[in-house]
C-alpha cells in the first residue's frame, strides 16, 4: 500500500516537473517568436516624379488635426488650458503639433512645425513622424515663394527615410467645398525623395 502511494507520488512529481519544463519552453518560445509591438501600417502612397525621384503627399486638416498651437503672448492657446512659457528667452519661438494624413485622408503620424524669429532670418522647421516608417526632418526656406508656397530641404531622416535626400513643398489650400463639416482648409506637404546610392560591400 505504502509502495503504491509512493509510486503515485513519484508520477505526480514527475508530471509537475514536466509541466515546469513545458512552461519554460512555452514562455521562451512565445517571448522569442511573438512580436511585443506591432505597429499599424497604412500603404505608402508614393508616386514616381516625372523629373526623377519619388513623391509623397501629406496633409493636415485645419482645425481638426491641430493638437497644439503655442506662441508667446497668445490670449487663448490650443488646447484649452495650455500654459505657454512666458520666459523672455522663448519670446520669438512658436510651435505647433499636428496629426498628419496621407493622400487617402488617413491619419498616419504626428508632425511638429516650429518658427523661431532670429535677427538674421526666421527659422522654420518641420518634423514628420510616421511610427511604422520613420521620421523626416525638414528645414524650410524663411521666405515664401510666389503663390504663397514654401520650399524646404530634407535635412535628414530616420529608419525608412534615413538614406533619402530631397525637398518638401508646403502650401495652404483653403476649402472650397462649402460642406458643413468640411475643414477650413489644409496644409499640404509634398515631399520629393531622391535616394542616395549605397556603396557596394
Amino acid at each position: 500500500m505504502a509502495r503504491e502511494l509512493s509510486s503515485g507520488g513519484n508520477v505526480l512529481l514527475k508530471t509537475f516537473l514536466v509541466g515546469i519544463l513545458l512552461g519554460i519552453a512555452a514562455t521562451a518560445g512565445a517571448l522569442y517568436s511573438l512580436p511585443a509591438v506591432d505597429q499599424h501600417r497604412e500603404v505608402s502612397l508614393v508616386t514616381v516624379a516625372p523629373n526623377g525621384g519619388n513623391q509623397e503627399s501629406f496633409h493636415i486638416n485645419i482645425p481638426m488635426d491641430r493638437i497644439m498651437v503655442g506662441t508667446a503672448g497668445q490670449k487663448a492657446g490650443l488646447p484649452a488650458g495650455l500654459d505657454w512659457p512666458q520666459d523672455d528667452v522663448l519670446a520669438g519661438v512658436s510651435a505647433e503639433l499636428f496629426k498628419i494624413r496621407n493622400a487617402r485622408d488617413v491619419v498616419i503620424g504626428v508632425a511638429a512645425r516650429t518658427v523661431a524669429k532670429e535677427e538674421a532670418s526666421d527659422v522654420i522647421d518641420w518634423v514628420l513622424h510616421i511610427p511604422a516608417r520613420g521620421t523626416l526632418f525638414v528645414n524650410m526656406a524663411p521666405d515664401a515663394q510666389e503663390g504663397g508656397h514654401r520650399i524646404g530641404r530634407l535635412r535628414t531622416g530616420s529608419n525608412e527615410f534615413a538614406l533619402l535626400k530631397g525637398f518638401v513643398v508646403e502650401r495652404w489650400v483653403a476649402d472650397t467645398s462649402g460642406e458643413e463639416d468640411a475643414p477650413a482648409g489644409r496644409i499640404e506637404l509634398l515631399a520629393t525623395y531622391v535616394g542616395t546610392a549605397e556603396p557596394f560591400e
Binding site: 513545458l22 517571448l31 505597429q39 522647421d125 518634423v127
Partner: protein
C-alpha cells in the same frame, strides 16, 4: 485528474520561473557607461522635467498610464499613432535657466525583444535654443532597466509606488556606441553632425500616473572642430 492539475500547475510555475529569470537576469539589458561621459569634446547639457504635468503639452492615446496634459488636448487614438506619444518641454541649462524648447515624439518600436532585454522606443527630438540654433535628434531608447528596476518594484509594492534614486541612460542607438544621431539645422549648429545621450533620473514613480519626481537630461557632444568656431555659452557648454 490530479495529474492534469499537477501538469497545469507545473506549466504555470515554469512560465513564472522563466519570466522571473528574464526579468532579474543581471546579464540582460545591463547598461554600460555612456561614451559621452568620457568625451574630450565640449558638450551641451540640457535638462527637463520628467513629469508629464510639467510639460507644456503631453499627449498619447489617452488610455496609457500617463494621462494627457492639459486634459483637453487632442489624443492620438488613431490606429497608426496609438502607440505614439508627443510632448513639448521646456529645456534648461546647467544653471536651471530656460535655454530653449524641446519637442519629443516617441513610438513603441517593433525592435522590442523582451527575451533579449530590449524594451525599445523609437524617438526623435527637435531642440531649439533661441540665439544659438536648432537641431534634430534621432535615437532608439531601451527602457528595460527602467522597467525592471522601477516599474516592477512599484507593482510589487503594496502602495503601488516606487521611491528611491535611479539614474540610467535611455539612449541605446542608432550609434554603434549607444549614442543618438544629432543633425544641426540652424544657427551655430547648422550643418553639424553630432552625438547625444538622453538619461533619466527618477526618484518616485507610481503605477497610476507614472513619474512623480523625475528629471531628464540631454547630453550633446559638439564635434571637435566646432570648439573654435562656435561662440560658447558657458551655462550650456561644459568642457569635459
Amino acid at each position: 485528474m490530479k495529474y492534469l492539475i499537477a501538469l497545469i500547475i507545473g506549466i504555470i510555475s515554469g512560465a513564472a520561473i522563466f519570466a522571473a529569470g528574464v526579468a532579474f537576469n543581471p546579464f540582460v539589458g545591463k547598461q554600460g557607461l555612456s561614451p559621452l561621459a568620457v568625451t574630450d569634446s565640449q558638450t551641451v547639457t540640457l535638462t527637463y522635467s520628467g513629469v508629464a504635468s510639467d510639460d507644456v503639452v503631453f499627449t498619447n492615446d489617452g488610455e496609457s498610464r500617463i494621462s494627457p496634459y492639459p486634459e483637453k488636448v487632442l489624443q492620438l487614438w488613431e490606429a497608426s499613432i496609438r502607440q505614439t506619444s508627443a510632448s513639448v518641454k521646456i529645456l534648461r541649462d546647467g544653471r536651471g535657466q530656460v535655454a530653449g524648447l524641446g519637442i519629443k515624439i516617441s513610438s513603441l518600436s517593433e525592435a522590442t525583444r523582451l527575451f533579449a532585454g530590449k524594451a525599445i522606443v523609437d524617438s526623435v527630438w527637435y531642440v531649439y535654443l533661441p540665439g544659438r540654433g536648432g537641431m534634430f535628434i534621432e535615437q532608439t531608447e531601451n527602457y528595460w532597466d527602467f522597467l525592471r528596476r522601477i516599474v516592477l518594484p512599484a507593482y510589487r509594492s503594496s502602495a503601488n509606488i516606487w521611491q528611491g534614486s535611479w539614474i540610467g541612460n535611455l539612449t541605446a542607438g542608432p550609434g554603434a556606441l549607444g549614442t543618438a544621431k544629432v543633425a544641426g539645422s540652424s544657427g551655430e549648429f547648422s550643418g553639424l553632425e553630432m552625438l547625444a545621450v538622453e538619461s533619466l533620473t527618477v526618484r518616485a514613480w507610481r503605477t497610476v500616473g507614472g513619474p512623480l519626481a523625475a528629471e531628464g537630461q540631454l547630453l550633446i557632444e559638439l564635434p571637435p572642430d566646432a570648439d573654435d568656431e562656435s561662440p560658447v555659452d558657458e551655462a550650456l557648454v561644459e568642457d569635459e
